[in-house]
């Protein structure tokens, strides 16, 4: 069991009171709070080590470069890969856009890209842009419980399917996809296999497997600062990929009409990089390693079980996603049905779903300092698939405990849902 009381003391923002009451932060799927050690690491970098990286001859420049490259090594070790396979980006979205642009040259008209119906827009839109170039985008269906339909997955893999890009954990349903099995199926077809790890790397133990060609995740979702993301790519893949952006840092030699690019990962890091972000992310990884990713995962399983059990006792709640905590993470999407406050209108062209709007639910919880997300969670294809407009969503991390779940449930009890 985690000592949540002691963890909370490491997070200055969780000491804040609003309207005299503590805050109940249940939106770590959107972004996590930052421990003192991360905040200090960033300040320490600026106090003692700041200089531009890679091209400096002087001592301070070496030290700044060292901070940056040590951070890269820490990220690489964390997921069991080599330093030169870690590209720093702004976030998961940029990592996946990098792939969309850099892999474009490998695709021809009629090729197919396969994603799932549970993807975040960051793993939809970079691929949808290629439809304009005659590439077809396919979506894997889900089972009623919210898992990927493996038979549908297999049936949608064609010989033209050059890229398969799938989330490791859904940011709405919480579903954890069996990346090992999916990667094997993808590799039988020689497809490039990409994993969106934004919701998995922060929350569970993970070591890279051979079937994954590329993986993207974000620092701010794992206690790190905003504006730093990661793209992992197998070195041989990164070597043959053209750069995404061009400019400072990323070259060996530039002539008037000719350029020789640096080797990976620098080839993909045009311009002065976010060194404070990398340093902060590295401190976040140190913090997570101290807790232990096994412990992070079991704490979240425990909270998710408790939350699912308590929420299920509420009348008129609709919970989305799998119920088995072995196969899902700590993010719970739900809606509240309400006959009592249904609109009494002759509906005309309007289809009424009888659900309270998720923004109204979130605003109601906000009044008691319970902070949950509401809306479509950047997953509108999934919302359309589920035939809903949005959900309210509570998500957990290491600083959450049973008292947070109690606050959520009692907040929801305050809504007139009978």
């Amino acid at each position: 069991m985690l000592d949540v009381g002691s963890i909370r003391r490491d997070f200055p923002i969780l000491q804040r009171k609003m309207d005299g009451k503590r805050i109940v932060y249940l939106d770590s799927t959107a972004t996590t709070q930052k421990p003192e050690s991360v905040i200090n690491a960033i300040a320490e970098f600026y106090r003692n080590y700041n200089a531009n990286v890679h091209r400096s001859v002087y001592k301070l420049g070496w030290e700044a470069t060292d901070c940056y490259e040590q951070a890269r090594k820490n990220v690489a070790d964390f997921i069991g890969v080599k330093s030169e396979e870690i590209v720093f980006t702004r976030n998961t979205t940029e990592s996946l856009n990098l792939l969309s642009y850099s892999l474009e040259g490998k695709l021809k008209k009629g090729d197919r890209i396969l994603i799932s119906s549970m993807e975040h827009h960051s793993n939809v839109l970079p691929w949808m842009r290629l439809e304009e170039r005659g590439i077809n985008l396919d979506y894997i269906n889900l089972t009623p419980e919210g898992f990927l339909d493996i038979e549908d997955f297999k049936s949608k893999i064609k010989k033209e399917t050059k890229i398969i890009s799938i989330t490791h954990q859904s940011n709405v349903l919480g579903t954890i996809n069996d990346i090992d099995t999916l990667s094997k199926i993808a590799k039988e077809n020689d497809s490039i296999f990409i994993v969106d790890g934004a919701q998995s790397i922060p929350h569970m133990p993970f070591k890279m497997i051979n079937g994954i060609d590329y993986m993207a995740f974000s620092g701010h979702k794992m206690l790190g600062p905003l504006g730093i993301g990661v793209l992992y790519g197998k070195y041989e893949n990164l070597s043959e990929l053209p750069p995404f952006q061009r400019g400072g840092e990323m070259i060996k030699e530039v002539d008037f009409h000719k350029v020789e690019f640096e080797d990976p990962p620098i080839k993909f890091e045009a311009g002065t990089p976010n060194v404070e972000g990398a340093v902060g992310l590295s401190a976040a990884i140190d913090y997570l390693k101290k807790i232990g990713m096994e412990n992070v995962r079991s704490h979240e399983k425990y909270l998710t079980r408790k939350a699912l059990d308590s929420l299920s006792t509420l009348k008129n709640i609709q919970i989305y996603g799998p119920r088995d905590t072995e196969k899902r993470g700590g993010v719970i999407s739900f809606n509240i049905r309400s006959e009592a406050i249904k609109r009494k209108i002759a509906s005309g062209n309007i289809h009424l779903d009888g659900l309270l709007h998720s923004h109204d639910v979130a605003s109601h919880l906000d009044e008691s300092n319970v902070f949950v997300r509401s809306g479509h969670h950047c997953a509108q294809p999934l919302m359309k698939y589920l035939n809903i407009k949005g959900t309210a969503r509570a998500s957990f991390y290491i600083y959450n405990d049973i008292d947070d779940i109690e606050a959520l449930v009692s907040g929801l009890e305050g809504i007139d849902v009978q």
Binding site: H357, S363, D416
Partner: protein, 125 residues
């Protein structure tokens, strides 16, 4: 959840429905949260003779649209185009937090976009 005035209006909106006669219809109004409203306006010489709406969305956006229709009925289009957003929010019957501004302002913004596009005499001189 909200006060009685809000809840009553949400459940029993006064201006809901599709009228038989209308000269302007604004139906592209949807926000990032998927809310949708359709405004039906009967306009004569720059005056809003009648305005009704259809739509589904959160309590704030639906109540706001109903209140907006009430406010706009019988007024000049020009006058309604110039409604000050912060005054509108200030006078709303329940406190609008920053996260809900888009919900409350949905009808005003839809009206401006739609009427701005429609070629109405006396509009946007």
């Amino acid at each position: 959840m909200y006060n009685d005035e809000i809840m009553d209006r949400y459940q029993n909106p006064y201006y809901f429905g599709k009228p038989e006669r209308y000269s302007i219809v604004i139906d592209e109004a949807s926000t990032s949260c998927g809310d949708k409203i359709i405004l039906y306006i009967q306009e004569e010489n720059g005056v809003i003779k009648q305005i009704k709406f259809e739509g589904d969305g959160c309590i704030i956006s639906m109540v706001s649209t109903d209140l907006f229709c009430e406010k706009a009925t019988g007024r000049n289009i020009e006058e309604i185009m110039r409604i000050d957003e912060s005054d509108y929010v200030k006078n709303f019957p329940v406190e609008i937090t920053p996260g809900r501004l888009n919900c409350a302002l949905l009808p005003i913004r839809a009206f401006r976009r739609g009427v701005g596009r429609a070629n109405i005499p006396g509009n946007l001189k």
